[in-house]
Amino acid sequence: MSSPTGGDPRPEIHRTAQGDWVVVGRRCRACAEPVAYAWPRCPACAAAVEAAHFGPRGTVWSSTVVRIAVPGHTPPYSLAYVDLDDGPRVLAHVAGDEPAPIGRPAWLVGTSDAGDLQVEVDR
């Protein structure tokens, strides 16, 4: 619980030739559910999945600023759930210590120093 073990469970990201950051995930071949992870089956319907890239653009669904000590992270830190366009809802870190404005455009900008998905938000 305290020290991370095994593989990193967080979404894998990739930089395209155009310089955009995208999440390397899966899309269900049956129900089109987008998934931010390289899982073997669709979590919604158990059908087969295929590789898919999501992002870099999305919309802030909600946000918060964590102001308590959490191992591996230094408070305060700003978190947002971002609905990637035609993609999954992903948890991302946002620079600064203000809540990201809900409903505003956001885009992936790589990972933070701690290895977390990072977004910038159009305030």
Binding site: R10, P43, S62, T64, V66, I68
Partner: protein, 377 residues
């Protein structure tokens, strides 16, 4: 053959930070009281719910009170572990697998965590620092953004449940707070302040289940439903946890032969954070969609209101020792239906409902949810 199942006895420890008391002592408080209440000395099987206790804890605790040589099964379903133990114990009696079963929940949080539960690093969002207060804060922020609740209405849940707990001698915290005081307490995860978050708690709670005898005043289980969450994402119009609570509630109400949760006299729900109670009262159908905050602020869900919620003080005030919580909720409802709650008694309560919700696995709409309906005959 299926039998009508009775909650023959319930018991709990005190709830609070009790690092000096081990799990044997906490569990014995709960089991002794439940056995005395049921008038039994032994059971045919035990289901134990716990989340963070070490491997073997169930047998280690139960041997100290002479419960050995019978089947003992440990279950983990996050915050719904205790009620999951109850659901399984109920099914074992209902189907005739065992005649008399103990459901026990226990947890000692104070020796494991100094504050919020450390997020699980093998979970993607846990690894990214999404502590439980932050998870619920996402829902609260969304409610504020959409106008479904105000900050003052969120705080009203804390004011109400702390006031209820004034009448519960086993509660960890109680007090007459104001909305202003709740909002002025230290920010934990915007917009949730300290007094809107459940405390770090140690405790145990237990219930003895048997076949119903048909005696007057007997508390019977009308239904017990359990679901684990489906994926939760942009496809749901609701915040996290709403849909699994609504689906599980529908299962439980249908099985109980009830039209709606509003038919129930008293309710204990999973208010680990203030927004949790607001979302849950809406998901249960106790109040119309979008009215959860208004109901808390307007006294609808207070003692004396049309639909009293968390007369015990809830998780916010009674405390939240994870594995024990569901059975503590069941103990409260059982006492309510037997008219034993003193100044926090809901007058004439005959039908009661318990809802527990466990989370922490990202992508899913909750690890598990339990809804059960009890009735005093």
């Amino acid at each position: 053959m299926s039998a009508s199942v009775a909650v023959a006895g319930v018991g709990t420890s005190h709830f609070g930070r009790q690092p000096e008391r081990d799990l044997v002592a906490l569990a014995w408080d709960a089991v002794r009281e439940a056995f005395d209440d049921a008038g039994v000395e032994a059971v045919d099987a035990v289901w134990v719910g716990t989340v963070f206790a070490p491997a073997g804890v169930a047998q280690r605790v139960l041997r100290a009170m002479g419960i050995t040589g019978v089947p003992i099964i440990t279950v983990e379903n996050a915050c719904a572990s205790g009620t999951t133990a109850f659901v399984e114990a109920h099914e074992a009696v209902r189907t005739g697998r065992y005649g008399r079963v103990l459901a026990l929940g226990l947890e000692q949080m104070s020796t494991a965590f100094s504050g919020a539960i450390t997020p699980e690093t093998t979970d993607p969002e846990g690894r990214a620092g999404l502590a439980m207060p932050a998870m619920y804060a996402m829902s609260a922020a969304r409610y504020l953004h959409s106008g479904a609740a105000t900050a003052e209405q969120l705080a009203a849940v804390s004011v109400k449940n702390h006031a209820h707990a004034v009448h519960n001698p086993r509660a960890q915290y109680s007090g007459r707070y104001t909305v202003v005081e709740v909002l002025a307490s230290r920010m934990i995860a915007d917009p949730l302040t300290l007094l809107q978050c459940c405390p770090t708690s140690d405790g145990a709670a237990a219930a003895v289940l048997t076949a119903a005898t048909g005696g007057a005043g007997e508390v019977v289980v009308r239904s017990a439903a359990l679901r684990s969450g489906a994926p939760w994402n942009h496809r749901s119009p609701h915040v996290w946890g709403h849909d699994v609570v609504a689906d599980t509630a529908r299962d439980a109400l249908t099985a109980a032969g009830l039209d709606a949760a509003t038919d129930v006299d008293v309710v204990e729900v999973h208010d680990a954070f203030t927004i949790g109670e607001i979302v849950t009262t809406e998901a249960l159908g106790l109040v119309p969609p979008g009215d959860g905050g208004k109901a808390a602020a307007g006294g609808v869900t207070a003692l004396g209101g049309a639909h009293p919620v968390n007369p015990s003080g809830g998780l916010l005030s009674r405390g939240h020792p994870l594995g024990a919580t569901g059975l503590a909720q069941l103990a409260e409802i059982s006492w309510q239906l037997r008219g034993r709650c003193g100044a926090r008694q809901v007058d004439g309560a005959r039908l009661g409902l318990v809802e527990t919700m466990g989370g922490g696995v990202s992508v899913l709409d909750g690890n598990s949810c339990v809804v059960t309906v009890l009735e005093a005959r």
